[in-house]
């Protein structure tokens, strides 16, 4: 256990350095003059001109060599300083927390809702099979096939416009969370219910499960004692991976619902070439990836300790 954590800690450091450096190189490699991009985001498209860009260049020292900027960033990072946004001039950490808190909230509620939809549906499909299985397969394929913002728009049309139950977009109250989380959950559950179904079907058909039934356990007993754990291990791993992609990959949902999350913020920051914010965000996302992976591994190990000592 301790060895695992130590190893992951090293991994964390390596990932942070790697991600930060890679973003740095990629941002530098993008076409266009950074000073102009930043000026456009600072002063708005009506006021961006060469004079504004020149002032930005002087103020931020964009003329400095690539290496000087890179070492400065690395040095700041070692002192836990993510720097200040080139656009707003505010500390990156503040903006990052604001966005990350919203993204994590949306992701967690979305995953939770997805689990509530996917697990019963997947189990039912595996247990009864037949038309229910085929129906959920069809529904899953259909939901997976449409882009997530179409699901979002349909949800808005139904729940916000026709029924008038929920707000269309925005943030700040629990009601604002429902539609984006639901949209996210539907698109996630479209895949995860099939994973649950496949895993459940595998377990239900396994010789050990058949043996449990023949030795006289009721279907309920067999399921709670021999089913859940066996199904859970791969499903938890899958949800873990989903959670990570969700935290960073919900740009469409976030902008459709005006949700101030990381994906949306990152997209804006890239347009604006706000390098410290991009690096900070990428860094935190990379770290989050390692941490969540570790948590998932620990959870899987406690569900299925047969793999032996964690290392």
């Amino acid at each position: 256990m301790r060895r695992l954590l130590l190893k992951r800690l090293l991994q964390l450091v390596a990932v942070s350095w790697g991600v930060g450096t890679l973003t740095f190189i990629l941002m530098r490699a993008l076409p266009g003059d950074i000073a102009y991009r930043i000026a456009a985001s600072r002063y708005g498209m009506d006021a961006v001109d060469s004079r504004a860009a020149e002032l930005v260049r002087q103020e931020l020292g964009l003329d400095r060599s690539v290496w000087a900027t890179y070492w400065q960033w690395l040095g700041d990072l070692l002192q836990w300083n993510l720097g200040t946004s080139l656009v707003s001039g505010q500390a990156v950490t503040g903006a990052l927390w604001h966005m990350l808190a919203h993204s994590l909230l949306l992701a967690l509620v979305g995953i939770l809702l997805a689990a509530l939809i996917a697990i019963p549906l997947g189990l039912a499909a595996a247990h009864w099979g037949g038309w229910l299985d085929r129906f959920t397969l069809l529904l899953s394929t259909a939901l997976r096939a449409v882009p997530v913002y179409v699901i979002g728009l349909l949800a808005v049309l139904l729940f916000a416009l026709e029924l008038d139950w929920l707000p269309v977009a925005g943030f700040g109250t629990p009601a604002h969370l429902v539609l984006p989380a639901l949209t996210l959950a539907l698109s996630l559950a479209a895949v995860s219910n099939r994973v649950v179904r496949t895993e459940a079907a595998r377990v239900f058909d396994a010789p050990f499960y058949e043996f449990a039934r023949t030795k006289g356990l009721s279907s309920r007993q067999a399921f709670t004692h021999h089913g859940i754990r066996n199904i859970a291990a791969p499903v938890v791993a899958f949800f873990g991976v989903q959670l990570i992609t969700v935290v960073e990959g919900v740009v469409m949902i976030e902008s459709l619902f005006s949700w101030p999350g990381v994906g949306h913020g990152l997209a804006h920051a890239i347009f604006a070439r706000d390098i410290p914010l991009i690096q900070g965000t990428a860094l935190v996302m990379g770290a989050l990836f390692v941490v969540l992976n570790t948590l998932v591994d620990l959870a899987c190990h406690s569900l299925d300790p047969r793999g032996g000592q964690l290392s």
Binding site: G32, D33, Y36, R37, A39, A40, S41, R42, Y43, G44, M45, D46, A47, V48, D49, S50, R51, A52, A53, L55, V87, S88, G89, Q90, G94, A95, W97, H98, A101, H102, L105, L153, V156, A160, L161, D164, P167, V168, A169, G170, F171, G172, S255, L256, F257, S258, P260, H264, H268, F271
Partner: protein
Amino acid sequence: MLKRLLAAVLVGLCASTAPALAAPTDSNTVRIQAAFEFSSLDPTRSGYVFTRMQLLETLINVDDQGRLTPGLAASWQVSADGRVWELSLREGVRFHDGTALDAQIVVDNLNLALGKPSVLQGVPITAIETVGTTGVRISLSEPYRPLGAVLANYSTAILAPAAVDADGEVKALIGTGPFSVYEITVPHKLVVQRFDDYWGRKAEVEYASYLTGHRAEARVLQARSGQADIVFGLDPASVPMLSRLPNLEIVRSDLPRTLALKLNAAYPLLSDPRTREALSLAIDRLGIAGAILHAPEAATDQLLPPYMADWYVQDVQAARDLERAAALLTELGWHKNGEGLLEREGQVFELDLITYADRPELTSVATAVQDQWKQLGVRLNVNVTNSSAIPAGHQDGSLEVALIARNYGTIADPLGVLMKDFGSEQGGDWGSMNWSNPAIQHSLQRLTAESDPERYHREAQQVARAIHAEKPLIAIAYYVQQSAVGKRLQGFRFDPYERSYFLNELNWR
């Protein structure tokens, strides 16, 4: 937890003057949705949001005809030689924190703005100083007529001393407007509350909130559902549907903003004015304005709108004439090749156009122009990028054609913008490019010092005619702003100069 984190980024909270108002709820708050984020608290950067939400005010105001009216300055005089402006401040004005407005504060604010990129930097200012406690004197090295309009621009809004730290960074929004900050989350949420000590017309509504709605579709839905009271910048395509709803009123307003093609006059294919004329004749403006902007009356081949009468040429038409366009190009030696493209000495007539995605209609218009020029035999490659690519392309000379939406009303007197755009041979980042017409460039310089309205009009007309005839920019259509206003509000009016939302004139029905 979320609340706490939100609180961590709350930047300004004006509690000191907070009267006993109930917290903002849907029933006491005017909820506004617009497309623009505010990336900073600094008025020279994001002041347009803060003056529109009526937190901050400027020394001079502008009415809907573009005339200057008193703001924080009750009156002003210009010396006979046009080099000294003296403003006397309104009495009894208080900031949201209770500080009284005085000349020193105004001078400090203007000097601060002068050091940051803003319209003030284009003014030949030699000194800004106090005259007693209520007078401000601005001295110029040469006369500059649009100064009054510059002092009405958001970047010259006046902040309380407590709002600015020692380094000149803006730390809070403490202004003099009829509303003060209740909550602000950079870059997308702002809630303002009524300021009861306001010097002018006090607001009736208690609160107003501003939320950035990035996507046009989302804003339309907000309007439709009644979850926003005022939605600015509606997608033209959604207007017919929204105007059928009983709970909404659609307000259509003309803006002094023009959709135009910026041409590099030094680019070999574009250097002859006849080529530019032909390209202009090949554009179906009525079609673009009707089908994309849903406002056929907005089609135009002039940069400035009729209500800026000094700069509008009365008797010209914007009709499409493909035959004449083709004839002009034949005259210049172009002929169609096997693919239907124009060719001259083995070179195909091919141009690169850049435009930006911040305004959704630009990309649609770009592809329409692409198609219309193709009918003439011109191949146009459209490249959608960031707005900053246009000034950048202007400076490094790589730009060939750009589709832009130029706002001639950022300063209420268009002369300021025109000087910037057409005042020199290099032109301006958002204006002409390598268009050489020394007479016009000289005229513009002279106009900044002209005080006689008759002579001003005559000279301005000459400039407008030259721009129209030689086409350093090809105008396509004016902008029409469509806003949705909920029926529970009354008293809404739209400011074509987009300086204020006039929230203090609103009341509940």
